[in-house]
């Protein structure tokens, strides 16, 4: 057993140990499986007392298992709203789970190697996140967790449709695999506009967060599969990995061209970003993400050597408001401007 407060000061296990052999362009790989218990209605049709029963059943199934010895289950109703937001920022729970916080739970393995949500859209959403491009490894971990739970629980499954899920877009494997990619050169050169439609042609979804203007916030994109029926788990993962490799190739080529074209301008931009992050007194999330993106590019290009990837990954997690609050022992929400000051203070400490 461990407490949620054990997580407040440390980086997620997967972020702490980035694989050095992998390209830094792929930040993380995530795999999730959707499962339902055959004896209960799906969450949206399951009355509160039955949802409680689902939690109890799953909690009991964790006992007497070596694999789950280091996992702890928390009911969301026992957590504060800042703590729930913290788990959300850490990708351990979803917004949908927070919306059902009276009847939902999350189980987390101590090193965050895997976790699962209880009473999300499906009774169980198992997930694992790894650093870099490691969907295969991520799937192996979650497959083991799934099999262990499957020995103890009765999952809804049909030979024809596979794993039965509340939403038909997950039916079959129940697998959603995704990679988070950092594509600053493709965004800067506007090549991204040509590439995005090409990716979606492979039955993959691509998501970006756009800040003010047309640039993507932090130049981060998430690519995930859309099909779960008729394609097996390894085919699905292989499909995404192939596209990820292509994107890495395009991004690397474009970086070379960009650096040739902007021999003075690009390093100047990168150093200015470093200066701002190191000395600013007030930073909002969008600006911080943009600056971090430039510094990551600077490390990749060998321009910045003072900052390590692990430091940058820590920053990427702790710039979120609930992480900043809980790390400083503040248990309730503060105004945007106060959080912006805390964010700048944190950044100066880290880059010291």
């Amino acid at each position: 057993m461990f407490q949620i407060s054990d997580l407040f000061h440390r980086v997620s296990g997967w972020l702490a140990q980035p694989d050095k052999n992998q390209s830094s362009i792929v930040i993380s790989s995530r795999v999730r499986l959707a499962r339902n218990l055959t004896d209960f209605n799906f969450t949206n049709c399951n009355p509160p007392e039955k949802q409680d029963e689902v939690i109890r059943l799953i909690e009991n199934s964790l006992a007497d298992s070596k694999l789950f010895a280091e996992a702890t289950l928390w009911r969301l109703s026992d957590l504060t709203s800042v703590e729930r937001q913290f788990l959300l920022e850490r990708q351990l729970i979803s917004r949908k789970l927070v919306m059902n916080h009276n009847y939902a739970a999350v189980a987390v393995e101590r090193s965050e190697n895997f976790s699962f949500m209880v009473n999300e859209e499906d009774h169980l959403r198992l997930q694992t996140i790894r650093a870099g491009l490691s969907l295969g490894e991520a799937y192996r971990i979650i497959d083991t967790v799934d099999s262990e739970l499957g020995d103890r629980l009765n999952f809804g499954f049909s030979t024809r449709y596979g794993y039965l899920t509340a939403c038909p877009t997950n039916t079959g494997t129940g697998l959603r695999a995704s990679v988070m990619v950092h594509l600053p050169a493709l965004v800067k050169s506007k090549q991204i506009r040509k590439i995005l439609p090409a990716v979606s042609r492979f039955n993959l979804a691509i998501r970006g967060i756009f800040g003010e203007g047309t640039d993507v916030m932090g130049n981060l994109f998430q690519i995930s599969n859309q099909l779960t029926l008729g394609k097996n788990e390894l085919e699905t993962i292989d499909n995404i990995e192939q596209i990820a490799h292509k994107l890495i190739g395009y991004e690397e080529e474009t970086r070379v061209l960009l650096l040739e074209d902007q021999k003075r301008k690009l390093p100047d931009q990168i150093w200015r970003a470093y200066g701002t992050l190191k000395y600013a007194r007030n930073l909002n999330l969008t600006e911080a993400m943009e600056l971090i993106s430039l510094i990551r590019l600077g490390i990749d290009l060998g321009i910045i050597t003072q900052v390590s990837y692990s430091c940058l990954n820590k920053i990427l997690l702790f710039i979120h408001s609930s992480h900043l609050l809980l790390k400083s022992g503040v248990g309730s929400e503060l105004s945007h401007s106060k959080v912006n000051t805390m964010r700048a203070d944190f950044m100066r400490e880290e880059l010291e």
């Binding site: 055959t38 917004r95 497959d143 049909s158 939403c167 039916t171 394609k231």
Partner: protein, 183 residues
């Protein structure tokens, strides 16, 4: 531009998502974005998947001719409710609403058959016949339309399914073992 959620504040985030050739865009203010978790680097999809279901199921109208409403006898979810929410009510919905769901699966996934990991406690071969007939029909149609790439894929699936359903495979199940030992 004003936030499309609250309609009050100035929008500051423009969120775009491409799914199945459809681009969805939304402008949000800082407050709504953070409420929806979009301010997080790792934000999940803002758009409810039921939007996609609703748009994909546009042409699928169950029991139109008979005028009957498809309903799950186990949990009471009707096909209409499913189309509105994008969510089924229980595992039995897959049986009771199957006729309406099948065309939807074809549109969403381009397939109506699971090929991945199998839950160990399930009994494997019972639906093979049904699947074989379905695949043979699809194969016939593909050949007629001269879609040979698809036909080859269907032929391979048919072949692997036939292997799965063959008596040698059944030897693993308890009933079959009993039969064998009886001989």
């Amino acid at each position: 531009m004003l936030c499309e959620v609250c309609g009050k504040n100035q929008a500051f985030i423009y969120y775009e998502e491409k799914v199945k050739h459809q681009v969805r865009k939304i402008h949000l203010c800082r407050e709504c974005a953070s409420k929806e978790g979009i301010s997080s680097v790792f934000a999940e999809s803002y758009f409810n998947i039921s939007d996609i279901i609703t748009s994909l199921s546009g042409g699928v109208k169950p029991d139109e001719a008979s005028g009957k409403q498809a309903v799950c006898k186990h949990c009471g979810t009707t096909y209409e409710e499913f189309i509105k929410s994008g969510l089924l009510g229980c595992c039995q919905c897959y049986n009771y609403l199957e006729d309406s769901l099948k065309p939807l699966f074809r549109r969403i996934h381009g397939s109506t058959h699971h090929t991945g990991k199998a839950f160990p406690n399930s009994i494997k071969p019972e639906v093979c016949d049904d699947e074989l007939v379905d695949l043979e029909e699809q194969l016939k149609q593909a050949v007629a339309r001269e879609e040979f790439e698809l036909a080859a894929e269907l032929r391979d699936r048919l072949r692997s399914l036939k292997n799965q359903c063959s008596p040698s495979d059944l030897a693993g199940t308890p009933e079959k073992r009993n039969n064998v030992s009886d001989k």
